[in-house]
Symmetry: C2
DNA sequence: TTGTAAGCGTTATCAA
DNA sequence: TTGATAACGCTTACAA
């Protein structure tokens, strides 16, 4: 940005000179109105107005006070993707609301393009913020290190669990378990799983044993564990459950992935999808193949995004907005303690599931 | 945020002392790697690492250089609403991408709750930004004044036209004209208009003459003009075109508003909606009333949000993302000139329109 | 190639 | 109630 707007910026001093008081007094007029006579304050404010003084410079104020009055929200995804993801948006929503209440600014920082080359975004180190919310960031991301190095309060939402850093999340394993259990109780014995990415390599294909043992995202790992646990309890071996991994959480990927699950001699009667977007995409394919939901195939999502209701999709409701508000709260509290918040999820049963054929 | 993280913050000086060089040299190691020997630089960086120095403090840097490395995006809406509006999100998307390329941070600032009490958000004055993008802000909003007072570069997207401030937008009037003309060419003579809000009073009802003359949003005024112009050319008087005003751009409001248009002795055969969200909501109601689209009622939207395609809605395509990228470009250019960018729109014809019955 | 010194615009401390 | 003065941590001529 050019500096040509800075034509001799008006400062506290100018106002002070104009009124004939010290610059401290002018500062007080803004910061501590009680510290000077109302009359003088009026006079100062009037002079400021006249001179075009627009109030304390943020940078200077920040340097002097040590606080920025802003917090950073760090995505692990490209911003462009983030703005299409209803779940992220809901979290962001909660964050924004809380920031509003606290009169705190919100800086959006995307780690997106940087995940690939393992370089943290410049802005991460540069941003004038008092703390960071790390939202679903890959544990091996350089961002995590950089954020920790900045020596400001941190809060992690969903990903990853970090020692000494407050955490906001849900019981992914338990929630997944309940989803699988619900389908088992309906008599299903032939399952297929649509998994979200286990690594950042763009892999689209069956979840191999090797990949299963090296899952970068703890939420994904937990959900998988939950599914598998429930199935095992019912005597179904994990090897017998076709599991397809999808690199992007999108309807389109769900639509493509589910084909590979349905294309089998023993077609699954129940699909466990790790997200609603994936599930909704899958539903389109299922119907396009001439199968009925839930008569031929039951399907269970995860997240309870707004579109899930319209799609009549059974799912796990996550309190996305509260994740955001809790994160801001923890950041403000910043007790230095390691308070973790595990929010409750809810089983939402809709028309996408039914008894096994 | 607490300062307890500041346990004796490590500064340039500490690093300098450790290495045994001056203050400036350490600064150069970060800013101008070419100004010192590679060996020395290595040594300095190593010492910094060891001491836990995380790089120049953003506030101090900003104060010294005069630039923040961030820009502010100012919404006129509540953030919670903004995150549900596909059009806003697309613009934001473009902004975010451009910021990414320029390694610039992005601060989101909502004027939302403040429109009501006419108080500009504190953060607006406080945010450490080099410039603002005002996105579709009400002309009478205090935000506009405050933003101008900050004496930083400004760019307006959509709303309002400000003297001496670069503007990014579309030809709202011409686009609306084409929409209406398209329906006229299909033989329609009985129209209904679903208008977005003309003022911030939450009004839901017929657009009165008085309100029509006092439209706060220029884009709304222009679209209305475009519709009316086309209709007048076809010999249809504005008084004969029922027009319903809606306070919120949402599907739900569209669904409700259209009832009042269809509930008439002379039922319109064509509906002009000022947004796709409103149009999509209206389509639900139209069908719920047992009417067929387009056989009984044709409907035309505005925006071309992603959902418009699925809804098979004819509409005006706006290049939302480019609005964002252009805004950032103008802000960076900040020539001080008054460059305006009027982006092209496109008529998108889909199944929601057909010949008049 | 490195160092000196003067800001940048505030806030905060403490004395007047 | 008001005012010196000293930070705050950095960048940047300019000098060595």
């Amino acid at each position: 940005m050019t500096r040509q707007y800075d034509r001799r910026k008006v400062t506290l001093k100018d106002v002070a000179a104009q009124v004939g008081v010290s610059h401290t007094t002018v500062s007080n007029a803004y910061i501590r109105p009680g510290q000077l006579s109302a009359a003088l304050r009026e006079k100062i404010l009037a002079a400021a107005q006249e001179l075009g003084y627009t109030g304390p410079d943020p940078a200077a104020k920040q340097l002097a006070t040590g606080r920025a009055g802003a917090l950073g929200f760090l995505f692990s995804e490209d911003l462009p993707y983030a703005f299409t993801d209803p779940a992220i948006l809901s979290v962001l929503n909660g964050v924004a609301r809380s920031c509003d209440e606290r009169e705190t600014d919100l800086a959006l920082i995307s780690a997106g393009s940087n995940l690939r080359n393992r370089t943290a975004p410049v802005s991460l180190g540069n941003a004038a913020v008092d703390g960071y919310i790390l939202y679903s960031v890959a544990p091996d991301s350089r961002c995590v290190m950089m954020a920790q190095q900045r020596n400001v309060p941190l809060v992690v939402v969903d990903q990853p669990r970090l020692n000494g850093v407050p955490y906001v999340g849900i019981d992914d394993r338990g929630s997944a378990y309940r989803a699988a259990k619900t389908l088992l109780d309906l008599g299903h014995r032939h399952f297929g799983i649509l998994s979200l990415k286990t690594a950042h390599d763009g892999y689209f294909g069956p979840l191999t044993a090797k990949r299963r043992d090296n899952i970068a995202h703890s939420t994904i790992a937990m959900r998988l564990e939950g599914y598998v646990l429930a199935l095992q309890e019912a005597g179904i071996a994990p090897e017998d459950v076709p599991t397809w991994e999808i690199p992007i959480n999108s309807e389109d990927m769900g639509a493509q992935g589910v084909r590979h699950l349905l294309n089998r001699a023993q077609r699954p009667t129940a699909i466990l999808a790790m997200s609603d977007r994936v599930a909704i995409g899958a539903m389109q394919t299922i119907r396009a193949l001439g199968l009925n939901i839930p008569q031929d195939v039951s399907i269970f999502g995860f997240d309870d995004i707004p579109a899930a209701e319209g799609a009549d999709l059974s799912t796990i409701h996550q309190p996305h907005e509260r994740k955001g508000t809790e994160a801001v709260r923890l950041l403000s509290a910043a007790t230095g303690s390691n308070e973790n918040v595990i929010l409750e999820t809810e089983l939402v049963l809709r028309g996408s599931i039914g008894p096994a054929a």
